[in-house]
Protein backbone atom coordinates (compact mmCIF):
# COMPACT_ATOMS: atom_id res chain seq x y z
CA UNK A 1 0.00 0.00 0.00
CA UNK A 2 1.69 3.22 -1.07
CA UNK A 3 0.74 6.43 0.62
CA UNK A 4 1.85 9.01 -1.92
CA UNK A 5 1.03 12.66 -1.33
CA UNK A 6 1.70 15.73 -3.43
CA UNK A 7 4.54 17.59 -1.71
CA UNK A 8 4.82 21.35 -2.15
CA UNK A 9 7.51 23.75 -0.97
CA UNK A 10 6.16 27.22 -0.25
CA UNK A 11 8.93 29.80 -0.07
CA UNK A 12 9.09 33.50 0.39
CA UNK A 13 12.32 34.95 -1.02
CA UNK A 14 13.41 38.56 -0.97
CA UNK A 15 13.68 41.12 1.74
CA UNK A 16 10.04 42.07 2.25
CA UNK A 17 9.02 40.37 5.46
CA UNK A 18 5.34 39.99 4.78
CA UNK A 19 4.22 36.41 4.28
CA UNK A 20 0.50 36.47 4.94
CA UNK A 21 -0.37 35.53 1.35
CA UNK A 22 2.12 32.66 1.32
CA UNK A 23 0.66 31.29 4.55
CA UNK A 24 -2.91 31.49 3.22
CA UNK A 25 -1.86 29.47 0.18
CA UNK A 26 0.09 26.99 2.34
CA UNK A 27 -2.96 26.34 4.51
CA UNK A 28 -5.27 25.99 1.51
CA UNK A 29 -2.96 23.39 -0.04
CA UNK A 30 -2.84 21.48 3.24
CA UNK A 31 -6.63 21.55 3.39
CA UNK A 32 -6.63 20.12 -0.14
CA UNK A 33 -4.69 17.11 1.15
CA UNK A 34 -1.17 18.12 0.16
CA UNK A 35 1.96 18.08 2.29
CA UNK A 36 3.25 21.63 2.41
CA UNK A 37 6.77 22.42 3.55
CA UNK A 38 6.84 26.01 4.67
CA UNK A 39 10.30 27.57 4.87
CA UNK A 40 9.55 31.09 6.02
CA UNK A 41 10.69 34.48 4.83
CA UNK A 42 13.94 35.78 3.32
CA UNK A 43 14.84 32.64 1.43
CA UNK A 44 17.61 32.88 -1.14
CA UNK A 45 17.26 30.91 -4.39
CA UNK A 46 20.01 28.62 -3.07
CA UNK A 47 18.05 27.93 0.12
CA UNK A 48 14.86 27.29 -1.84
CA UNK A 49 16.47 24.77 -4.17
CA UNK A 50 18.35 23.03 -1.35
CA UNK A 51 15.09 22.60 0.58
CA UNK A 52 13.26 21.43 -2.55
CA UNK A 53 15.95 18.81 -3.10
CA UNK A 54 16.01 17.52 0.48
CA UNK A 55 12.23 17.43 0.71
CA UNK A 56 11.88 15.81 -2.75
CA UNK A 57 8.93 18.04 -3.59
CA UNK A 58 6.77 17.89 -6.69
CA UNK A 59 6.05 21.61 -6.66
CA UNK A 60 7.91 24.77 -5.64
CA UNK A 61 5.63 27.75 -5.00
CA UNK A 62 7.39 31.09 -4.72
CA UNK A 63 5.64 34.12 -3.32
CA UNK A 64 7.16 37.44 -4.39
CA UNK A 65 5.79 40.85 -3.55
CA UNK A 66 8.98 42.85 -3.81
CA UNK A 67 9.15 43.10 -7.61
CA UNK A 68 12.35 41.06 -7.65
CA UNK A 69 10.76 38.16 -9.56
CA UNK A 70 12.76 38.74 -12.75
CA UNK A 71 15.96 38.36 -10.74
CA UNK A 72 14.91 35.54 -8.38
CA UNK A 73 12.93 33.21 -10.65
CA UNK A 74 15.59 32.63 -13.33
CA UNK A 75 18.09 31.81 -10.59
CA UNK A 76 15.75 29.28 -8.94
CA UNK A 77 15.10 27.59 -12.29
CA UNK A 78 18.79 27.57 -13.17
CA UNK A 79 19.68 25.94 -9.84
CA UNK A 80 16.88 23.39 -10.15
CA UNK A 81 18.09 22.42 -13.61
CA UNK A 82 21.65 22.17 -12.35
CA UNK A 83 20.39 19.60 -9.80
CA UNK A 84 18.60 17.67 -12.51
CA UNK A 85 15.30 18.76 -10.98
CA UNK A 86 13.79 20.24 -14.12
CA UNK A 87 10.65 18.15 -13.63
CA UNK A 88 9.69 20.07 -10.49
CA UNK A 89 6.68 22.31 -11.18
CA UNK A 90 7.55 25.93 -10.38
CA UNK A 91 4.74 28.36 -9.58
CA UNK A 92 5.04 32.05 -8.82
CA UNK A 93 2.50 34.07 -6.90
CA UNK A 94 2.34 37.65 -5.79
CA UNK A 95 2.46 40.95 -7.59
CA UNK A 96 3.67 40.16 -11.12
CA UNK A 97 3.04 42.72 -13.91
CA UNK A 98 1.27 41.29 -16.97
CA UNK A 99 4.23 41.95 -19.25
CA UNK A 100 6.46 39.72 -17.13
CA UNK A 101 4.21 36.65 -17.32
CA UNK A 102 5.28 35.50 -20.79
CA UNK A 103 9.03 35.86 -20.09
CA UNK A 104 8.64 33.92 -16.83
CA UNK A 105 6.81 31.12 -18.59
CA UNK A 106 9.44 31.07 -21.31
CA UNK A 107 12.02 30.48 -18.58
CA UNK A 108 10.12 27.44 -17.33
CA UNK A 109 7.75 28.81 -14.70
CA UNK A 110 4.61 26.68 -15.13
CA UNK A 111 2.06 28.98 -13.53
CA UNK A 112 1.84 32.63 -12.51
CA UNK A 113 -0.85 33.62 -10.01
CA UNK A 114 -1.67 37.25 -9.32
CA UNK A 115 -3.22 38.74 -6.18
CA UNK A 116 -6.79 38.00 -7.27
CA UNK A 117 -6.27 34.26 -7.79
CA UNK A 118 -8.50 31.95 -5.77
CA UNK A 119 -6.66 29.24 -3.89
CA UNK A 120 -8.97 26.73 -5.59
CA UNK A 121 -7.43 27.66 -8.95
CA UNK A 122 -3.95 27.01 -7.58
CA UNK A 123 -5.05 23.65 -6.15
CA UNK A 124 -6.57 22.58 -9.47
CA UNK A 125 -3.49 23.73 -11.36
CA UNK A 126 -1.20 21.69 -9.11
CA UNK A 127 -3.36 18.58 -9.34
CA UNK A 128 -3.29 18.76 -13.12
CA UNK A 129 0.43 19.52 -13.36
CA UNK A 130 1.69 16.84 -11.03
CA UNK A 131 1.51 13.54 -12.80
CA UNK A 132 1.74 11.16 -9.87
CA UNK A 133 -0.71 8.59 -8.66
CA UNK A 134 -1.92 10.04 -5.39
CA UNK A 135 -3.70 8.25 -2.63
CA UNK A 136 -6.23 9.82 -0.31
Amino acid sequence: MTDRKIRVLVAKPGLDGHDRGAKVVARALRDAGMEVIYTGIRQTPEMIVEAALQEDVDVVGISILSGAHMALCPRVLELLNAQDMGDVVVLVGGIIPDEDVAPLKALGVKGVFGPGTSTQDIIEFIRQSVAVPVAG
Partner: protein, 333 residues
Protein backbone atom coordinates in the same frame (compact mmCIF):
# COMPACT_ATOMS: atom_id res chain seq x y z
CA UNK B 1 20.76 -0.97 -7.38
CA UNK B 2 21.64 2.35 -8.93
CA UNK B 3 19.75 4.48 -6.41
CA UNK B 4 21.49 2.74 -3.52
CA UNK B 5 24.92 3.12 -5.12
CA UNK B 6 24.31 6.81 -5.72
CA UNK B 7 23.08 7.29 -2.17
CA UNK B 8 26.10 5.53 -0.71
CA UNK B 9 28.34 7.67 -2.91
CA UNK B 10 26.89 10.76 -1.24
CA UNK B 11 24.38 11.87 -3.89
CA UNK B 12 21.83 13.97 -1.99
CA UNK B 13 19.15 13.76 -4.64
CA UNK B 14 19.34 9.97 -4.51
CA UNK B 15 19.05 10.22 -0.73
CA UNK B 16 15.95 12.42 -0.95
CA UNK B 17 14.37 10.08 -3.52
CA UNK B 18 15.08 7.03 -1.41
CA UNK B 19 13.47 8.65 1.63
CA UNK B 20 10.31 9.34 -0.42
CA UNK B 21 10.09 5.76 -1.64
CA UNK B 22 10.64 4.40 1.85
CA UNK B 23 8.15 6.84 3.39
CA UNK B 24 5.47 6.02 0.82
CA UNK B 25 5.91 2.38 1.77
CA UNK B 26 5.18 0.80 -1.61
CA UNK B 27 6.65 -2.41 -3.06
CA UNK B 28 9.84 -0.58 -4.07
CA UNK B 29 10.72 0.12 -0.44
CA UNK B 30 11.72 -3.30 0.96
CA UNK B 31 14.47 -4.08 -1.59
CA UNK B 32 15.97 -0.61 -1.05
CA UNK B 33 15.94 -1.02 2.71
CA UNK B 34 17.39 -4.49 2.43
CA UNK B 35 20.29 -3.17 0.34
CA UNK B 36 20.88 -0.31 2.77
CA UNK B 37 20.62 -2.30 5.99
CA UNK B 38 24.23 -3.57 6.03
CA UNK B 39 25.35 0.07 5.98
CA UNK B 40 23.30 1.06 9.03
CA UNK B 41 24.08 0.90 12.74
CA UNK B 42 26.71 3.64 12.87
CA UNK B 43 24.64 6.78 13.52
CA UNK B 44 23.47 7.77 16.98
CA UNK B 45 19.73 8.49 16.92
CA UNK B 46 18.44 11.29 19.14
CA UNK B 47 14.71 11.87 19.62
CA UNK B 48 13.64 15.42 20.53
CA UNK B 49 10.09 15.52 21.80
CA UNK B 50 7.90 17.87 23.82
CA UNK B 51 4.72 19.90 23.79
CA UNK B 52 3.96 22.24 20.85
CA UNK B 53 5.95 25.46 20.93
CA UNK B 54 8.47 24.48 23.59
CA UNK B 55 11.30 25.25 21.14
CA UNK B 56 12.13 21.81 19.74
CA UNK B 57 12.99 23.03 16.23
CA UNK B 58 15.07 25.92 17.57
CA UNK B 59 16.88 23.45 19.80
CA UNK B 60 17.45 21.02 16.93
CA UNK B 61 18.92 23.91 14.94
CA UNK B 62 21.24 24.84 17.82
CA UNK B 63 22.23 21.23 18.55
CA UNK B 64 22.99 20.57 14.90
CA UNK B 65 25.23 23.65 14.77
CA UNK B 66 26.99 22.50 17.89
CA UNK B 67 27.63 19.07 16.37
CA UNK B 68 28.88 20.68 13.17
CA UNK B 69 31.40 22.65 15.20
CA UNK B 70 32.74 19.30 16.33
CA UNK B 71 32.89 18.21 12.70
CA UNK B 72 30.08 15.68 12.97
CA UNK B 73 27.48 15.31 10.22
CA UNK B 74 23.81 15.60 11.16
CA UNK B 75 20.66 14.23 9.59
CA UNK B 76 17.38 15.75 10.78
CA UNK B 77 13.84 14.37 10.58
CA UNK B 78 11.12 16.82 11.63
CA UNK B 79 7.72 15.20 12.11
CA UNK B 80 4.51 17.24 12.14
CA UNK B 81 0.91 15.99 12.33
CA UNK B 82 -1.21 15.21 9.30
CA UNK B 83 -4.60 16.92 9.38
CA UNK B 84 -7.19 14.24 10.12
CA UNK B 85 -9.71 16.16 8.01
CA UNK B 86 -7.84 16.63 4.75
CA UNK B 87 -4.94 14.19 4.95
CA UNK B 88 -2.66 17.13 4.18
CA UNK B 89 -0.05 18.65 6.45
CA UNK B 90 1.69 21.93 7.06
CA UNK B 91 5.32 21.18 7.86
CA UNK B 92 6.89 24.31 9.32
CA UNK B 93 9.89 23.17 11.34
CA UNK B 94 12.41 24.27 8.71
CA UNK B 95 11.54 27.89 9.47
CA UNK B 96 13.62 27.59 12.67
CA UNK B 97 16.49 25.77 10.96
CA UNK B 98 17.60 28.34 8.44
CA UNK B 99 21.05 28.60 10.06
CA UNK B 100 21.75 25.14 8.68
CA UNK B 101 21.22 26.08 5.03
CA UNK B 102 24.03 25.49 2.59
CA UNK B 103 25.91 23.00 4.78
CA UNK B 104 26.65 19.72 3.00
CA UNK B 105 27.11 18.06 6.41
CA UNK B 106 23.41 18.60 7.16
CA UNK B 107 20.32 17.01 5.63
CA UNK B 108 16.85 18.05 6.80
CA UNK B 109 13.69 16.17 5.95
CA UNK B 110 10.13 17.07 7.03
CA UNK B 111 7.67 14.23 7.55
CA UNK B 112 3.93 14.16 8.12
CA UNK B 113 2.40 11.59 10.44
CA UNK B 114 0.09 10.37 7.64
CA UNK B 115 -1.83 7.21 8.45
CA UNK B 116 -1.97 5.17 11.60
CA UNK B 117 0.45 5.46 14.48
CA UNK B 118 2.12 2.12 13.92
CA UNK B 119 2.72 3.13 10.32
CA UNK B 120 4.38 6.31 11.50
CA UNK B 121 6.76 4.43 13.74
CA UNK B 122 7.62 2.13 10.82
CA UNK B 123 8.14 5.00 8.37
CA UNK B 124 10.22 6.98 10.86
CA UNK B 125 12.42 3.99 11.68
CA UNK B 126 12.94 3.37 7.96
CA UNK B 127 13.83 6.99 7.20
CA UNK B 128 16.27 6.90 10.13
CA UNK B 129 17.85 3.80 8.56
CA UNK B 130 18.24 5.62 5.25
CA UNK B 131 19.98 8.62 6.86
CA UNK B 132 22.12 6.22 8.88
CA UNK B 133 23.17 4.33 5.76
CA UNK B 134 23.95 7.65 4.07
CA UNK B 135 26.57 8.15 6.79
CA UNK B 136 25.08 10.81 9.05
CA UNK B 137 26.77 10.48 12.41
CA UNK B 138 24.02 12.05 14.50
CA UNK B 139 20.36 11.77 13.55
CA UNK B 140 17.96 14.18 15.25
CA UNK B 141 14.25 13.30 15.14
CA UNK B 142 11.80 16.04 16.21
CA UNK B 143 8.29 14.92 17.17
CA UNK B 144 5.45 16.81 18.78
CA UNK B 145 4.89 15.27 22.19
CA UNK B 146 1.19 14.60 22.20
CA UNK B 147 0.68 10.91 22.63
CA UNK B 148 1.44 7.32 21.90
CA UNK B 149 3.18 8.22 18.66
CA UNK B 150 6.06 9.76 20.60
CA UNK B 151 6.46 6.70 22.73
CA UNK B 152 6.61 4.60 19.57
CA UNK B 153 9.10 6.91 17.92
CA UNK B 154 11.15 7.06 21.10
CA UNK B 155 11.64 3.33 20.73
CA UNK B 156 13.52 4.08 17.50
CA UNK B 157 15.87 6.55 19.24
CA UNK B 158 18.99 5.73 21.22
CA UNK B 159 18.68 8.88 23.30
CA UNK B 160 15.40 10.69 23.90
CA UNK B 161 15.43 14.35 24.94
CA UNK B 162 12.16 15.63 26.40
CA UNK B 163 11.86 19.41 25.99
CA UNK B 164 9.92 21.37 28.58
CA UNK B 165 9.43 25.12 28.83
CA UNK B 166 8.28 27.36 31.66
CA UNK B 167 4.89 28.98 31.59
CA UNK B 168 2.79 26.03 30.50
CA UNK B 169 0.66 26.45 33.62
CA UNK B 170 1.10 24.52 36.83
CA UNK B 171 4.37 22.75 36.08
CA UNK B 172 3.63 19.57 37.94
CA UNK B 173 0.36 19.18 36.08
CA UNK B 174 1.78 20.32 32.76
CA UNK B 175 4.59 17.80 32.69
CA UNK B 176 2.87 14.87 31.18
CA UNK B 177 2.72 11.49 32.72
CA UNK B 178 4.77 9.10 30.69
CA UNK B 179 7.66 11.40 29.90
CA UNK B 180 9.63 10.00 32.80
CA UNK B 181 9.57 6.61 31.12
CA UNK B 182 10.83 7.83 27.77
CA UNK B 183 13.19 10.67 28.82
CA UNK B 184 16.92 10.01 28.90
CA UNK B 185 17.51 13.75 29.18
CA UNK B 186 15.40 16.77 29.97
CA UNK B 187 15.94 20.17 28.39
CA UNK B 188 14.20 23.04 30.13
CA UNK B 189 14.19 25.45 27.21
CA UNK B 190 13.31 29.17 27.26
CA UNK B 191 15.39 29.40 30.41
CA UNK B 192 15.53 33.14 29.74
CA UNK B 193 11.90 33.23 30.85
CA UNK B 194 10.59 33.47 34.35
CA UNK B 195 9.69 30.17 35.93
CA UNK B 196 12.44 28.01 34.44
CA UNK B 197 13.68 27.09 37.90
CA UNK B 198 10.17 26.02 38.84
CA UNK B 199 10.08 23.71 35.85
CA UNK B 200 13.45 22.25 36.85
CA UNK B 201 12.16 21.69 40.37
CA UNK B 202 8.98 20.08 39.14
CA UNK B 203 11.06 17.65 37.10
CA UNK B 204 13.34 16.92 40.03
CA UNK B 205 10.25 16.27 42.10
CA UNK B 206 9.04 13.74 39.58
CA UNK B 207 12.43 12.10 39.76
CA UNK B 208 12.11 11.98 43.49
CA UNK B 209 15.08 14.32 43.96
CA UNK B 210 13.30 17.34 45.42
CA UNK B 211 10.78 17.45 48.23
CA UNK B 212 7.19 17.65 47.05
CA UNK B 213 5.63 20.89 48.35
CA UNK B 214 2.28 20.91 50.10
CA UNK B 215 -0.65 20.72 47.72
CA UNK B 216 1.04 18.42 45.25
CA UNK B 217 0.82 15.21 47.19
CA UNK B 218 0.30 12.18 45.13
CA UNK B 219 0.82 13.93 41.77
CA UNK B 220 4.25 12.45 41.19
CA UNK B 221 5.74 9.05 41.45
CA UNK B 222 9.09 9.30 43.22
CA UNK B 223 11.85 6.99 42.14
CA UNK B 224 13.07 6.57 45.69
CA UNK B 225 16.53 7.81 44.82
CA UNK B 226 18.53 9.77 47.34
CA UNK B 227 18.14 13.53 47.25
CA UNK B 228 21.86 13.82 46.64
CA UNK B 229 22.04 11.55 43.61
CA UNK B 230 23.97 13.04 40.70
CA UNK B 231 22.45 12.95 37.28
CA UNK B 232 23.78 10.69 34.57
CA UNK B 233 25.31 7.25 34.93
CA UNK B 234 24.63 5.67 38.33
CA UNK B 235 26.89 3.31 40.28
CA UNK B 236 24.28 0.55 39.93
CA UNK B 237 24.46 0.74 36.13
CA UNK B 238 21.30 2.83 35.85
CA UNK B 239 20.90 6.30 34.38
CA UNK B 240 19.27 9.28 36.06
CA UNK B 241 18.08 11.72 33.36
CA UNK B 242 20.00 15.00 33.68
CA UNK B 243 18.07 18.26 33.46
CA UNK B 244 19.70 20.99 31.38
CA UNK B 245 18.49 24.57 31.11
CA UNK B 246 18.75 25.94 27.58
CA UNK B 247 18.05 29.12 25.66
CA UNK B 248 17.87 27.56 22.23
CA UNK B 249 17.47 30.90 20.45
CA UNK B 250 20.86 32.04 21.74
CA UNK B 251 22.53 28.65 21.85
CA UNK B 252 22.96 28.81 25.63
CA UNK B 253 23.20 25.49 27.45
CA UNK B 254 23.25 23.66 24.13
CA UNK B 255 26.85 22.47 24.40
CA UNK B 256 26.02 21.07 27.82
CA UNK B 257 23.00 19.28 26.36
CA UNK B 258 25.12 17.92 23.52
CA UNK B 259 27.73 16.67 26.00
CA UNK B 260 25.02 14.91 28.03
CA UNK B 261 23.75 13.24 24.87
CA UNK B 262 27.27 12.01 24.16
CA UNK B 263 27.65 10.78 27.75
CA UNK B 264 24.39 8.90 27.39
CA UNK B 265 25.69 7.33 24.18
CA UNK B 266 28.80 6.21 26.06
CA UNK B 267 26.64 4.88 28.90
CA UNK B 268 24.57 2.85 26.43
CA UNK B 269 27.71 1.37 24.91
CA UNK B 270 29.28 0.55 28.27
CA UNK B 271 26.19 -1.15 29.64
CA UNK B 272 23.86 -3.54 27.88
CA UNK B 273 21.61 -0.51 27.17
CA UNK B 274 22.53 -0.23 23.52
CA UNK B 275 21.93 -3.89 22.82
CA UNK B 276 18.59 -3.75 24.63
CA UNK B 277 17.49 -0.68 22.68
CA UNK B 278 18.49 -2.24 19.40
CA UNK B 279 16.44 -5.33 20.23
CA UNK B 280 13.45 -3.19 21.29
CA UNK B 281 13.77 -1.27 18.05
CA UNK B 282 13.95 -4.45 16.02
CA UNK B 283 10.89 -5.79 17.84
CA UNK B 284 8.82 -2.69 17.04
CA UNK B 285 9.86 -2.73 13.41
CA UNK B 286 9.44 -6.43 12.84
CA UNK B 287 6.06 -6.38 14.55
CA UNK B 288 4.82 -3.71 12.17
CA UNK B 289 6.35 -5.34 9.10
CA UNK B 290 4.78 -8.70 9.95
CA UNK B 291 1.37 -7.13 10.47
CA UNK B 292 1.59 -5.25 7.16
CA UNK B 293 2.81 -8.26 5.23
CA UNK B 294 0.39 -10.74 6.77
CA UNK B 295 -2.55 -8.47 6.05
CA UNK B 296 -1.37 -7.88 2.49
CA UNK B 297 -0.80 -11.60 1.97
CA UNK B 298 -4.23 -12.39 3.35
CA UNK B 299 -6.01 -9.77 1.27
CA UNK B 300 -4.46 -11.07 -1.94
CA UNK B 301 -5.79 -14.59 -1.17
CA UNK B 302 -9.36 -13.46 -0.61
CA UNK B 303 -11.84 -13.53 -3.49
CA UNK B 304 -12.80 -10.02 -4.66
CA UNK B 305 -15.49 -8.48 -2.49
CA UNK B 306 -14.98 -10.99 0.29
CA UNK B 307 -13.55 -8.47 2.75
CA UNK B 308 -16.34 -5.95 2.14
CA UNK B 309 -18.94 -8.68 2.59
CA UNK B 310 -17.34 -9.76 5.85
CA UNK B 311 -17.22 -6.17 7.13
CA UNK B 312 -20.89 -5.71 6.25
CA UNK B 313 -21.81 -8.96 8.01
CA UNK B 314 -20.00 -7.81 11.16
CA UNK B 315 -21.75 -4.46 10.98
CA UNK B 316 -25.14 -6.21 10.68
CA UNK B 317 -24.23 -8.32 13.75
CA UNK B 318 -24.52 -11.51 11.72
CA UNK B 319 -21.06 -12.52 12.85
CA UNK B 320 -18.71 -11.25 15.52
CA UNK B 321 -15.32 -9.81 14.52
CA UNK B 322 -13.32 -12.53 16.34
CA UNK B 323 -15.07 -15.38 14.54
CA UNK B 324 -14.79 -13.47 11.27
CA UNK B 325 -11.06 -12.95 11.87
CA UNK B 326 -10.57 -16.65 12.59
CA UNK B 327 -12.44 -17.56 9.39
CA UNK B 328 -10.27 -15.20 7.34
CA UNK B 329 -7.10 -16.63 8.88
CA UNK B 330 -8.25 -20.12 7.87
CA UNK B 331 -7.21 -19.04 4.35
CA UNK B 332 -3.63 -19.69 5.46
CA UNK B 333 -4.16 -23.26 6.56
Amino acid sequence: MQLVDELLAGNRRALARTISIVEDGGPAAPPLLAALYPHTGRGHVIGITGAPGTGKSTLVNALARSYRQQGRTVGIIAVDPTSPFSGGALLGDRVRMRDLAGDPGIFIRSMATRGNLGGLARATADVISVLDAAGFERILVETVGVGQAEVDIASAAHTTVVVEAPGLGDEVQAIKAGVLEIADLFAVNKADREGADHTVMALQMMQGLAPVPAGHHGTTGGTGRSHHAEAGAQPDGGWLPPITKTVAMRGEGVEMLRDWIELHAVHLRETDGLARREVARAATELDQILRDQLITALLTRLPPGHLDATLAAIARREIDPYTAGAQLLAQFS
